[in-house]
């Protein structure tokens, strides 16, 4: 589904990604872990097309199409979703209004008719129940006055409505207490399917207690330096990141 080949990217004058390779198959859940400053969030942002990064080398194909040539909204229409580490507040813009506009923009891109209002309402009610969100949430302005946990739940709720092919979740677990973490994880698990892939960016193993990944990768110094299955996450938790860094350090 997603192939990242030798990706190099700068933020300003600093090279952050230094030849990153990663391949995600359809239906797979990949976790990317790594110390602070290793380039995890940069990877998420570059994949989603955020301004402020310059790709200096490498390619990324998504479902057979060159991803890096697309505008952020085009990537969304093709099925990329980014769950933000810090969801943005947009005063005066109704939460469901944004979602409806987003869904219909994608419908238009696909040449399909707009979602009718009744159908849309049914969908959001279902998904809100999944995320244990009150109806009143839906009619509030996007993330305005939401607590940290509510914002993250809202991200997963949006993902559930938009039904992406690839969900990139950037530190979705940060700032969540254990109850909120369980709700968020349950939401993500409910959306796991054969034709949907996940790239879960996290600093801690904690989230992976609830969402079992197929693959775990360690990102450090702008490259993936180690990959394994879920046991790698447990090992990292026990031994810390220094262990991998030492193990993979080039001698001399």
């Amino acid at each position: 589904m997603l192939n990242i080949d030798n990706l190099h990217a700068n933020a300003g004058d600093t090279e952050i990604l230094k030849g990153l390779n990663l391949s995600i198959g359809t239906g797979e859940v990949h976790a990317i872990m790594g110390p602070n400053g290793s380039g995890k969030s940069t990877l998420a942002h570059v994949l989603a097309g955020r301004d402020g990064y310059e790709v200096t080398g490498g390619t990324v194909t998504f479902l057979g199409t060159e991803l890096l040539d697309m505008l952020p909204e085009e990537r969304a229409w093709h099925g990329i979703f980014l769950g933000f580490q810090y969801p943005i507040e947009i005063p005066g813009v109704n939460n469901t209004y944004l979602l409806k506009a987003a869904l219909n923009a994608r419908q238009k891109f696909r040449g399909e008719p707009e979602i009718d209002a009744a159908q849309f309402l049914r969908v959001i009610k279902d998904k809100a129940r999944l995320m244990q969100m009150e109806q009143s949430f839906l009619n509030r302005s996007v993330n305005e006055g939401f607590s940290g946990g509510e914002k993250k739940r809202n991200e997963i709720f949006q993902m559930a409505v938009l039904e992406p092919r690839l969900a990139i979740l950037d530190e979705t677990d940060s700032g969540l207490d254990i109850d909120a973490l369980k709700i968020v994880a349950a939401g993500i698990n409910a959306l796991r399917s054969e034709d949907r892939s996940f790239l879960i960016v996290t600093h801690y193993q904690r989230l992976l207690d609830y969402i079992e990944p197929d693959f775990v990768h360690v990102l450090a110094g702008g490259r993936i330096i180690k990959s394994g299955d879920k046991s790698l996450a447990l090992e990292l938790e026990a031994k810390g990141y220094d262990w991998v860094l030492d193990e993979t350090a080039t001698p001399g």
Binding site: A48, G49, R50, D51, G52, D69, L71, P72, E73, R75, A76, W77, F81, L82, F84, P87, I88, I90, P91, G92, V93, Y97, L98, L99, A101, A102, L103, A105, R106, S141, V142, Q158, L162
Partner: protein, 482 residues
């Protein structure tokens, strides 16, 4: 992301959709201003003597004045002798008796502007007075309104048909000595609307006036007077457009609202005069004096304005809160793009005890535009327990635009409570990215964020016009982010 930049470039040309000219024979007097011109205007309108006398007094006073220069505006000098003060589409001597006699070209013009004047095609529940250059073309639903006792007619008709009401109320809220432009308007005003709602009547329809400037080198000097008698209620809306021309044109209007006890007027404006091109050539100078006088207990006035057009806007719809418990509200969205300038706001004058006022002002500035909010809250010693809440928010788009806030407060009663909040923000890149990541195009994302910013004001507009206002805002800001 070079693809994105070219997309944005394509949108930079701001489109003004009402910029056409109606090719119609007109009776336009030569440019210039003197007492004879004023006599001619008064004669053309067949006015009673008191009206001419009043005009001449205003003119003589105006001659002693100089243009105000305190606003934060750059105004090229205006040659008042180079403007024609009266222009009317040619018609029979008596004017059209019914819509069938109105020149089809005029009907077509309003059709094009989205204001059908045939009652059967008109927006349900909205009566329209259509003012074209210096005269009213027609007023719809006059009979239906008359059944309810409501008078809704062109100002010039009112001068002839209801001289006692005009003489009693004209200039009592905005006297001709009020300011330079009010004096000029009082001397040369041509048409506008007159509304009288009798005691206890709730006006059965929305009333609206649509102002259109067509003729080149003319000014439009409309005058509107609305009287809400005791316990009555009316909602009134005005809209304005003009052709695209390279020279500036002057629009100096006066609006007076009189609200008796227990009465309410809701006055909404969607102003879309031609704003000039990207380099600032052409566009309307919109210099307007609007004031409401809440004369009795529990009288209420609400001004809602969407100011999107004009090269320069100088406008401060105000409330004189004379009655006990009287209420004044001002809700404003002002949009300036390219080289537009606006200095706008309100004045709340609290005289009566327990009078309350609310000011919500949303300014959006893009391109090289400069915009100021200027507001005065004045609490007189008599206004015990007066309250005011003011909220001024500015949104900047692009690096060259500016927003300025000049709040003035004069509090002469210690029991008053006055609050002022102000914010200035930029459309944040992260808000835009967030919306685009969800699948909105950049343009749709900007529109959504801007409309969210203005929501508190839009919801004050009558339903039919809220949608129109939102669409207007989107057009006005096309290409503003880049």
């Amino acid at each position: 992301m070079s693809a994105k930049n070219s997309e944005v470039k394509k949108l930079v040309d701001k489109k003004y959709r009402h910029g056409f000219v109606t090719d119609i024979g007109s009776d336009t007097i030569p440019p210039g201003l003197n007492e004879d011109v004023i006599r001619l205007i008064s004669h053309k309108k067949d006015e009673p003597q008191f009206m001419l006398d009043w005009r001449l007094k205003a003119y003589r006073y105006w001659e002693t004045l100089r243009e105000p220069d305190w606003a934060m505006l750059n105004i090229d000098p205006i040659d008042y002798q180079d403007i024609s003060y009266y222009s009317a589409p040619k018609q029979n001597d008596d004017g059209p008796k019914s819509l069938d006699e109105v020149d089809p070209k005029l009907l077509e013009t309003y059709e094009k502007l989205g204001i059908p004047l045939h009652e059967r095609a008109a927006l349900a529940g909205v009566a329209v007075d259509a003012v074209f250059d210096s005269v009213s073309v027609t007023t719809t639903f006059r009979e239906k309104l008359a059944d309810a006792g409501v008078i809704f007619c062109p100002f010039s008709d009112a001068v002839k048909d209801y001289p006692e009401l005009i003489e009693k109320y004209l200039g009592t809220v905005v006297p001709y000595r009020d300011n330079f432009f009010a004096a000029l308007n009082s001397a040369v005003f041509s048409d506008g609307s007159f509304v009288y709602i009798p005691k206890g009547v709730r006006c059965p329809m929305e009333l609206s006036t649509y102002f259109r400037i067509n003729e080149a080198k003319t000014g439009q000097f409309e005058r509107t007077l609305i009287i809400a008698d005791e316990g009555s209620h009316v909602s009134y809306l005005e809209g304005c457009t003009a052709p695209m021309r390279d020279e500036n044109q002057l629009h100096a209007a006066v609006v007076e609202l009189i609200i008796h006890k227990e009465a309410e007027i809701k006055y909404s404006t969607v102003q879309n005069w031609y704003p000039g091109d990207e380099e600032g050539r052409g566009g309307i100078y919109n210099f307007v004096t609007k004031r409401a006088d809440c004369r009795g207990t529990n009288s209420k006035v609400s001004w809602t304005q969407i100011e999107a057009g004009s090269a320069i806007t100088w406008k401060y719809p105000s409330c004189v809160l004379r009655g006990e418990n009287s209420v004044g509200e001002f809700y404003s969205v002002a949009v300036t793009n390219n080289m537009q300038q606006a200095d706008t706001g309100t004045k709340m004058l609290h005289i009566g005890a327990n009078s309350r006022s609310t000011i919500i002002s949303k300014g959006i500035s893009a391109g090289h535009a400069q915009q100021s909010y200027r507001g005065l809250v004045k609490i007189l010693p008599t206004a015990h327990n007066a309250r005011n809440h003011t909220q001024c928010d500015s949104l900047l788009m692009g690096k060259q635009s500016g927003a300025h806030t000049f709040p003035y407060m004069e509090i002469k009663n210690p029991t008053a409570i006055v609050e002022h909040e102000a914010t200035t923000s930029k459309i944040a890149d992260d808000q835009l990215f967030y919306c685009r990541q969800r699948g909105l195009s950049e343009e749709d994302a900007v529109n959504m964020i801007v409309n969210g910013f203005c929501k508190e004001v839009f919801r004050e507009l009558p339903m039919e016009f809220a949608v129109e206002a939102q669409a207007l805002l989107n057009v006005s800001l096309e290409g503003a982010v880049g």
